[in-house]
Symmetry: C2
Subunit: 372 residues, 2 copies
């Protein structure tokens, strides 16, 4: 599924204004109350669509990027954990603009300035793609994910917002376009990478083949098979940039061959629905995990505990600090999660929480809507 | 399909004696007429099997290893090109031993000393696995492949021989065991690598996940879809060892990520039978092909010509010098082959021959047999 998009020039840039209650932002080069959208996306729709709903509520799932040997090009979505966006047509908001009216949930320290907020940036980019000039919108973000957990928190917000804008205007854009909108947000938060935003929007497993042009490949896990992730998040901050700085710039050829073959096996395991092979491949990274695991106290013990408890594989989720293990049933997953929580305390002196979640095969979606 | 084998100690080592007409070999540490097999394989069958045929004829296909980003862990078999072995129960050969009685075909410069011949080494290893002590065998090898072409010539001989020994004794060994027997041969010729011998024996595409233990994954190209390879072999010697020495020992992380993602895409393309995606992935190597292509005169022009003529992708087959392009039909393949042959002459001043072959989905097989 290559996102070969036919771009058209917008007739007017999408803009936004910050919520009156938002905290003061550092001075920028232009007026605080009105910025031109810096998004590089362009209008894709020739006739500005009208809203088909007065309000929509969307959900976007948490995501596990990297998956061991899939560093920087593989990710998948996990069900039942993620962010919600409620988006309304709001006559009090200037036409073509968006307001972030409220942020609730696991974190409230996010800016309500749309250009400094993942959901806001993605919503603006989606409005720009749709060429929205005649309608003002207001957005509420409900965070179900903590920041910096390695579970694609920013991508979940961006995905829920992009899908909400698309849905309220009658779903004119395809998923590839929404990934591009979400990428505008990701680029400002943690770098131009699609391994969280693509699965957050598309669901399932997604392989990122290239960025120029963006070329995404959905990898379908068989419908009749289930896959469970044990997600164990310690109370520890592992900032993406620091974790990225820990990576080597050159790697031995022998590790390249090894990791490539494991990534290849991981893809085969996904397409064939082989949870055991998938776990083994996910667990086999010799390039990234060995440099990052020592930066997360207890991670090596956690992996060992997961495997000893019967997990098919275990690695770091995204840039961490969450550890992710793979299994084929909920009960076994809960047992594995307990062992992993204990290991975080024993090996890293860190409190941690565990949950067991299914693979999300759907991606960001409409939860409810109010027709006009 | 992991080759987890239960090894048993042989009660007597397999041995061989060279054909009386064979050229003198350099002195070895033991008697020329009788060597202990150096194969590391062990007997897998508790009761020595009896031959079920007096004679068998087998075929093993040519193979394309590496496939661009699949360097050292991916290979596939191509139909209608390969080596034949005729194996006979021979009362004139001492029990438990093997004689290479004749070598015909594209090359006759191979040694008939079984320990210095790919077919001989693989046959001895297979006899050892079967625990053959009571029967002597004689083997004729008919080469359909030239040496050093990058089409798995040594692997085809080894595969045909291993399968012949297994068939004549009633097919007691599985394909994984036969790959191990063939690996004994490959290790002595070009290094312990399975990306030719595994597809030569198993057919289709094979992913080598690990060597310790040997862990092979057959990747099934859909039965209802066809895939064609345009194989263009120039008159040029590209010895595997020299091509291997050209490789970097360290590679940039950015190339690692790129190549891994392309290898992952290649596997997805194989399993989904997507020839276009497969070609694109095969054509995208940034690690190995850029260092090897300049060592084969005209290769860069050949790749360009193939793509311009409509090939879905093109790269070096194995360590070269054969160029391999991918397409979905014979006629288009023949046209592409002509353009590639012209480009070898134009860009490298090399004569070349082209052929278009289907993916071989079967691997080494029994062609005919004479019952006892």
């Amino acid at each position: 599924m290559a996102a070969t998009l036919c771009f058209q020039q917008p007739s007017k840039p999408i803009s936004y204004f910050p919520h009156p209650k938002s905290k003061p932002s550092p001075p920028l080069t232009t007026k605080l109350s009105f910025f031109r959208c810096k998004a590089s996306v362009q209008t894709l729709i020739s006739v500005e669509p009208e809203p088909v709903f007065t309000s929509v509520k969307t959900f976007a799932p948490a995501t596990v990027a990297n998956l061991g040997p899939g560093f920087d090009f593989l990710g998948c979505a996990v069900d039942g954990l993620g962010d919600h966006v409620t988006l309304r047509v709001d006559p009090s908001v200037r036409a073509g603009e968006i307001l972030i009216s409220d942020i609730t949930g696991t974190t409230t320290k996010l800016s309500t300035n749309p250009l400094r907020n993942c959901a806001g940036i993605a919503a603006i980019a989606t409005m720009k793609m749709l060429g929205i000039r005649s309608v003002g919108l207001s957005l509420d973000l409900h965070k179900g994910l903590p920041l910096g957990s390695g579970l694609g928190s920013s991508a979940a917000s961006a995905a829920a917002a992009a899908v909400a804008v698309n849905e309220i205007f009658g779903r004119k854009l395809g998923k590839e376009a929404l990934v591009l909108a979400g990428l505008e947000s990701e680029a400002k938060v943690s770098g131009y990478h699609a391994d969280n935003i693509a699965p957050a929007i598309m669901g399932g497993f997604v392989l990122i083949r290239s960025y120029e042009p963006l070329d995404l490949k959905a990898l379908r896990f068989p419908e009749d098979k289930e896959l469970f992730f044990v997600l164990v998040s310690p109370e520890f901050e592992a900032p993406t940039k620091k974790m990225r700085a820990a990576l080597p710039t050159e790697i031995p050829m022998v590790h390249h061959v090894w990791n490539s073959s494991q990534a290849a096996a991981l893809v085969a395991a996904v397409l064939e629905g082989d949870a055991v092979m998938l776990g083994k491949a996910l667990s086999s990274d010799k390039v990234v995990e060995p440099t990052r695991a020592p930066l997360i106290p207890g991670m090596e013990d956690v992996k060992k505990a997961a495997l000893e408890a019967g997990a098919f594989g275990c690695t770091i989720s995204g840039a961490g600090p969450t550890a992710v293990a793979v299994i084929d049933g909920v009960e076994k997953g809960e047992e594995i999660g307990e062992r992993m929580v204990e290991a975080f305390m024993r090996g890293g002196n860190l409190k941690a929480v565990a949950c067991v979640k299914k693979l999300d095969k759907v991606g960001a979606r409409l939860v409810s809507s109010i027709s006009r």
